[in-house]
């Protein structure tokens, strides 16, 4: 098809048919401010901040939705455009709380940025400030409707990308509000706590339930033995909070920072991931042998697990019974580690640092503990950890390197790549191949399962059979593939489902980023770390071998089942 030629601020530019004026401006190197627009989401065009002047048109056009056309002459910074944008920001500010200095999004708020970028120096309007109740019903996600600017990004990601629709727009006009049906709160509906709404919220209307106070309290309690585990995706993103380049791998500095915060032991969730690989790999081989409960679907992503419980309860038998790395790790901290080092489980305060808000929910599930104690006492996100490091006055960028403690800090490259979509599959393949064939796997990198497509498929030869695998990221894609399986239109042996786009690196607890390539950059950090690891296969991790030898017994054995496996239950969708 013929390309479209147009002019943006006197720069000629050519774009493909179907492009918007905003796309064309990007191509011409012209920055247009946006707010309701988000590159990952369906277009809406409701906030009007991206308006431009188009020659021959009476009114300004919203460039994010306006189609580029041949011969179009666009001006993005004329006086009327600048004045209009300012007025829009002023109107938004007119009924926005004026508490920027104590707002958790101070410094990362897009409304604040816009106001600054557009040189808004006074607000000429005074609007009614609402005082609606906060929704604090969920253990993972807090909604503050007073800060909401109705851009609709949260609704779009929840409805289209995740196919959950826990929230929606209710009411009309000045009374319109983003809320849960009947304002019953996130905890009552089908919210899976994935936190993708937080990730796209430009302001602080959606945020994680902050657990850092609880962690500070434990750290200053000298009678508690504090143990922290850190998920793989955290080390690929934490540096962004301290001005390091996106994709910087900060594992050793992160460990130093955690020690400085006062944790008695700094361990690695990747150890839990290695253990998950061994358990899940054996479970898969077992199911293949018996030809039952196939495809086996991964269970590491708590947002996905909760989604399955709400939306596909009839398929819960397919979900691996393995706990997630966080919870396998938690169970071991309160048993194996406690016994080995002679510390009473009740004296251990176990914190998990996660790229994920759903992990907060997962840790609170009643199946995830024993003897009245939860296996994980508090979950903080990458962002919350960054806040704690800043609050403690730690100069992160200049920290010396430090290594994880042993034995639960020892991990393989297989555990590392859990943090990116396709990683669980690749990690499982590395082990399953060797367990099944008894031969050494020479090429450990399965390029076929890498990438960022919503659904990726691969066929892996395995000892005379062909293992059909699928890798899914985002719940909207999960819905599609599960419906296909139900209809008999697709058949696999193993499916990896991650609740968030890109896997954990794109989790709802990760630093806010405007970098369009952020997922690729974080992923490459994890693949780099995997590449540098001496041990690349989970079952070859010496600490895992020792764990089975001295404590667990056989993979999928009785003790392993008791501690490392779980069950699921249907939850209502309505």
């Amino acid at each position: 098809m013929e390309r479209i030629k147009l002019t943006i601020d006197s720069t000629p530019v050519e774009v493909d048919p179907g492009s918007t004026v905003l796309d064309a401006a990007k191509k011409a190197g012209v920055h247009i401010p946006t707010l309701c627009y988000h590159p990952e989401l369906k277009l809406e065009g409701s906030c009007r901040i991206c308006v431009v002047e188009i020659e021959g048109m009476k009114n300004l056009a919203a460039s994010c939705v306006y189609p580029a056309a041949n011969g179009m002459v666009v001006r993005t910074n004329s006086e009327v455009v600048r004045k209009t944008r300012k007025s829009i920001v002023e109107l938004l500010l007119a009924n926005h709380p004026e508490d920027c200095l104590v707002c958790p999004r101070h410094g990362t708020c897009e409304l604040q940025d816009l106001s600054h970028q557009l040189s808004v120096r006074k607000v000429r309007f005074r609007g009614e400030k609402r005082e609606l109740a906060l929704d604090e019903s969920s253990i993972a996600v807090v909604r503050d409707p007073n800060k909401c600017i109705l851009c609709g990004r949260c609704i779009r990601i929840c409805e289209h990308t995740q196919k959950v629709s826990a929230i929606g727009l209710a009411g009309r006009g000045s009374r319109a509000v983003v809320t849960t049906p009947f304002n019953r709160g996130l905890a009552e509906g089908p919210c899976v706590a994935c936190g993708q709404c937080i990730k796209v919220c430009p302001v602080a209307a959606l945020r994680e339930r902050d657990a850092s106070e609880q962690v500070w309290k434990a750290l200053s309690n000298s009678t508690l033995h504090t143990v922290v585990q850190v998920a793989p995706a955290v080390r690929a993103a934490l540096g962004e909070e301290f001005g390091l380049r996106p994709g910087a791998l900060v594992t050793e500095k992160m460990v130093s920072a955690l020690r400085k915060l006062g944790f008695n032991r700094v361990f690695d969730t990747q150890f839990g991931a290695d253990l998950t690989v061994v358990e899940e790999g054996h479970e898969l081989l077992h199911r293949l042998e018996r030809n039952e409960n196939l495809p086996q679907i991964s269970s590491c992503s708590p947002g996905w697990v909760k989604y399955a419980e709400h939306f596909f309860p009839e398929m819960l038998n397919l979900v691996s019974t393995c706990k997630s790395p966080q919870q396998m790790f938690g169970a071991l901290v309160k048993t194996y580690y406690a016994e080995k080092f002679g510390i009473a489980a009740r004296d251990i305060f176990h914190v998990a640092v996660m790229p994920c808000t759903a992990k907060k929910f997962e840790a609170s599930r009643e199946e995830m503990g024993r003897d009245g104690l939860q296996d994980v006492d508090a979950v903080i996100t990458t962002r919350e950890l960054a806040f704690m490091i800043k609050e403690a006055g730690i100069d992160f960028a200049n920290l010396p390197d430090s290594e994880f403690d042993l034995p639960l800090g020892m991990s393989s490259g297989a555990g590392t790549i859990f943090g990116v979509t396709g990683g669980v599959t690749e990690a499982v393949l590395r082990s399953v191949y060797e367990i099944k064939t008894g031969k050494e796997l020479e090429e450990v990198e399965f390029q076929a399962v890498r990438g960022f497509g919503g659904v990726r498929e691969a066929q892996i030869p395995l000892n005379g059979m062909t293992l059909r695998v699928a890798i899914v990221n985002s719940l909207g894609q999960a819905e599609k593939i599960l419906n296909k399986i139900k209809a008999g239109e697709a058949s696999y042996h193993f499916i990896e489902i991650m609740g968030c786009l890109g896997g954990c690196i794109g989790g709802g607890g990760q630093p806010f980023s405007k970098d369009p390539d952020i997922k690729q950059k974080r992923a490459s950090a994890l693949y780099r770390q995997d590449h540098l690891k001496r041990v690349r296969k989970a079952h070859e991790n010496p600490a895992i071998k020792e764990l089975y030898r001295s404590f667990l017994g056989e993979p999928n054995g009785e003790k392993a089942h008791d501690l490392l496996h779980t069950h699921y239950h249907a939850r209502p969708r309505y």
């Binding site: 929606g168 009309r172 309505y574």
Partner: protein, 171 residues
């Protein structure tokens, strides 16, 4: 109802089902494959129940296999839909420009006084609900009001008591 047909899914329910739900089932079955059918279905469901209680909205969402947030978004957007019980007779005073300048405001005051409820309210005997509406397109009759399907034009506050009496007598 025989035992095996008793519904046991919802707590606090004796299993007896309001036959109105059977009517809703018919409405859903009739329109379910039609795109954009939600408003029509809610409209008729409101006719059946008189208003749209929470459990009925849940029932419709489930019946159509759509998110509850979608249903709730529609029912709270359109002023036509009511989430609270309404009276047998629904009085709607038009507040369009023409009616407004011809004294709709004093009509509303008169109804509020006679019924002892504010706009949006329902009388304790559930006979009347007082509402205001946007322009109904009968500006030539301004000020105009409707009681269910009946239209009254050129109405002054002095006729309010008489109109109410007419419906009270129908009881």
């Amino acid at each position: 109802m025989s035992d095996e047909k008793k519904c046991i899914t919802c707590p606090g329910c004796d299993g007896a089902r309001d036959p109105k739900y059977d009517e809703v089932d018919k409405v859903i079955a009739k329109y379910r494959n039609l795109e954009g059918a939600l408003i029509m279905i809610l409209h008729q469901t409101q006719e059946i129940f008189g208003y749209l209680p929470e459990e009925v909205q849940r029932y419709v969402a489930k019946g159509l296999n759509i998110p509850l947030a979608d249903v709730y978004g529609v029912t709270t957007f359109y002023s036509y839909f009511s989430l609270t019980p309404r009276g047998k007779y629904r009085i709607a005073v038009c507040m369009g420009t023409a009616c407004y300048v011809r004294g709709a405001g004093s009509l509303v005051s008169a109804f509020e006084k006679e019924l002892a409820v504010k706009v949006g309210g329902t009388t304790p005997d559930r006979l009347f609900t007082l509402e205001v509406s946007r322009c109904i397109g009968a500006c030539g009759l301004a000020p105009v009001l409707t009681v269910n399907e009946d239209v009254y034009g050129n109405i002054g506050p002095e006729r309010v008591a008489g109109i109410l009496a007419k419906y009270r007598d129908r009881q």
